[in-house]
Symmetry: C2
């Protein structure tokens, strides 16, 4: 092994461990920590962030990374990828003053709690000053990091999707607008004739919880390596490939909400569990990019989870769980209901087709915020205007509007597009997969293991070894191509609601 790389690894061990500690604190903060703990625990997290930065940004690591730049030929593919990721992270962090970075960590930890309360109480004003500071900080940080030719938004985007620029996204979303907006309208006109009120009867939380736990295991989320908890907003996190954690949230007046959440987060979780043992706990031990991550979660949630073949063996079990609520509801009626497309207010509850418009709205708004063309105070109004424009409906409350997502409270700008790119990647992967296997037959035989194996072999095991386009090229024979997505949605919706 390259001597400098070996030394580097020793310096990385505490860095990785400190990242693990920060992950655990965030998990705990979202799922379990008592309400009064936040202020003092934020100080702990702030101090840990300092320790993390001091451990990572030490001159010895910089020195080793510099030496390794000239020694690429002596490195394995995996080592090269680790050095690439480290360089990227190092360059990002070294330009941000430590005390500003730490203050930002403390700010977002507090903001996450303020957001949860603000959402609960439909009180945007209480969250607004935090969001304002988060936006200002992210703009400042992006300014420190910006390279020639990059917009501030490009910089933020590069944290999640290094293969995409603002320009690429404008092109992508233009296709979404042109091709999908007419389809959304077409389907919305049929919506009234599709019964789905039975999905919104009374579904006791304990039964939902038991069914969702079964479902997580059914799709391949391994209990031995995973945890399922509850939080205000479902999410996935992990310490390594054998400690993967997802959350869910149960609404007693909605059957689909928790079901599709657990399949979605389960998809993320299966990705993390599938990363190779020799990559986990290294800088390339996570999903390739956010979009690639979302491609897996949304592949499970929508392409599998809203398909007839998936529900054929499962629907009888669902009916058994809720014999009264689903009495007389055929599988066909159920499928048409869970795929019913109509404009709605909540992104995470949106159907597969309108979903992208929710993302489009957030993309346009966060671009404006970062460009300084929209101020936080005006955000609730702008939110409503966009919903009116693209979906033809307007939320009565901020709770159902701008306060619904946690991402901005966590400081994640440039993240939302990953959901749309990921959805499109899913369709591209589906097309490739169907050449290699009879997916419907697998699903009907409850053989979800075959799906997991395919995705594990082509995507999961590699972690961040390859980038998004590189992985797509390997697996599907071409780079990202949004046309598969449009074709998939068009075919599916026309078939279901012919």
């Amino acid at each position: 092994m390259n001597e400098h790389f070996e030394k580097l690894q020793r310096y990385l061990e505490p860095v990785q461990a400190l990242q693990g500690a920060l992950t655990l604190f965030q998990w705990d903060n979202e799922t379990l920590a008592p309400p009064a703990a936040n202020e003092q625990s934020s100080r702990i997290v702030g101090a840990l962030t300092d320790v993390y930065l001091n451990a990572f940004l030490r001159p010895e690591i910089f020195q080793l990374l510099t030496e390794l730049k000239g020694e690429k030929d002596t490195l394995s593919e995996k080592e090269k990828a680790i050095v690439r990721e480290l360089n990227k992270e190092y360059e990002n962090l070294m330009v941000i003053p430590k005390e500003e970075y730490r203050a930002f960590q403390e700010l977002t930890m507090k903001a996450a709690v303020v957001w949860a309360k603000a959402r609960e109480e439909d009180d945007f004003a209480s969250f607004s000053p935090y969001l304002k500071e988060i936006v200002e900080t992210q703009k400042r940080f992006a300014g420190y990091r910006r390279k020639e030719g990059q917009s501030l938004y490009d910089v933020l985007l590069s944290d999640y999707e290094p293969d995409f620029t603002e320009k690429d996204l404008d092109d992508f979303f233009a296709i979404i607008r042109e091709e999908l907006v007419p389809l959304v309208k077409e389907m919305a006109e049929k919506a009234d004739s599709i019964p789905d009120s039975f999905l919104y009867g009374h579904y006791p939380a304990d039964k939902q919880s038991a069914f969702c736990e079964m479902l997580a295991e059914y799709i391949g989320f391994e209990k031995e390596k995973g945890v399922i908890a509850q939080s205000a907003h479902p999410f996935t996190t992990n310490l390594h490939n054998k400690d993967v954690r997802i959350t869910n949230h149960f609404y007693e007046n909605s059957l689909p909400s928790a079901i599709f959440s657990v399949i979605h987060e389960g998809g993320h979780g299966i990705y993390e569990m599938g990363i190779a043992d020799d990559l986990t706990m290294t800088p390339i031990g996570g999903g390739a990019t956010m979009a690639m991550h979302e491609s897996q979660s949304r592949f499970y949630e929508n392409i599998l989870g809203r398909s007839e073949a998936f529900w054929k063996p499962l629907y009888p079990k669902l009916q058994e769980t809720y014999p009264e609520q689903l009495a007389g509801i055929s599988l066909e009626t159920f499928l048409r209901a869970i795929n019913k497309s109509q404009p709605s207010l909540i992104r995470t509850e949106a159907d597969e087709l309108t979903y992208c418009l929710h993302i489009l709205i957030r993309y346009e708004l966060e671009k404006l915020l970062i460009a300084g063309e929209l101020c936080v105070e005006d955000l609730p109004k702008a939110w409503k205007d966009k919903y009116r424009e693209y979906l033809g409906i307007v939320p009565d409350t901020d709770r159902e509007g701008v306060l619904q997502d946690t991402h901005w409270a966590w400081g994640n700008f440039g993240y939302f597009p990953s959901y749309a790119i990921g959805s499109a990647i899913g369709a591209q992967l589906l097309a490739a997969m169907k050449k290699d296997m009879d997916l419907d037959a697998c699903l009907q035989a409850s053989n979800l293991a075959a799906v997991k194996e395919y995705l594990g072999k082509h995507i999961h095991q590699y972690g961040k070894l390859y980038g998004c386009n590189e992985l797509l090229q390997k697996t599907t024979g071409e780079k990202f191509n949004a046309r598969y997505y449009v074709a998939y949605l068009r075919e599916k919706y026309h078939r279901l609601y012919a």
Copy 2:
């Protein structure tokens, strides 16, 4: 403020934060982490321990502590106590090679999981090599740390009870043996005539959980600042005074088990929640000593929790929760049953009177282990022999014998005596308390707030500002005195079973 102390505080911030991270990992490991996570997560904990040691054992801190030794007059009482605790901890750690300390942390983290499985499967042999290594390591560490005149066991004991030596404990346990063994025998003879089988009917876990949650709040465990979870063995931990965590364990064939566990752990929790805001998150932000901690938990569990005045307002609620199981059982019968004293195998399930003999056994065994006069392989047999000698009964399995406690798996030798000292302190505090307030009247009026206020004022708020005997002197007018305990037990048991 003293300039050196101010500097010291800045160096302590990361140290405290890293301790918090280690605490959170341990909590998570015991309550939630998936089984397959252990090995990789142990590496994270090992690396964090390294970071912690490097942050604490830096020469700058040593330098500052040295300078502060000559500047005591310029320090406040609180600052002096902080310096005292730091010196103690620094001297403990600086003599242990870092890699050995880290290996020990990883070892105990693994051992805790191996122990849980071994206990489940009644398989001492699988745990034995871990325990052996733990004993050897603790002996070696004690050897590094030993000061003139100290036995190895004295060194271990000083981590929990700096005011007590092995000699003091021999004296204390001699009193226990002389005074309580005859009382235990006297009461055991009456045991057969005291009905208690109704306590061991079927008690569904969900009802137990709900009742225990109510009970925790009833005694003063504040939900805003606390968490209740489940683990194999109930315990308490905390990040600071506004994040205090207790666990419970539900046996469906036992009513008292979870009830007295939650009151016990709740007592620990109330102590931690009561520590003053300006002490929490400092080196003196915990309970004064382990025995002082146990004095609070066992005060709540036994002196309050097994008294008539406590149950008078609560028993109707318990009957409401279990109308069938407790039909026709009067309060008097219930009280005699929950106080019934008879030799039994499980420490945590033992009655208040025989409890100290369980501790006596562990004390004698761990002294032998540390003195090298008993080897781990022979421990199961020695355990059985001691139970035969002191309690007249012998466990059939190691699960009900040597594998029942988690303490040794965590590396805690010298800890068990704290339970007995703590029980005795509780009785000493009770005598003082009764001079100041009508305790029975408070309990009957469900005024647990008054009890918490009294203990908060005299004990909790001070954290580690004062030592055990110093606190007792302040509160009760004398140092530790075991005679109160003997008198309390004699009076209580003769009254209950006249």
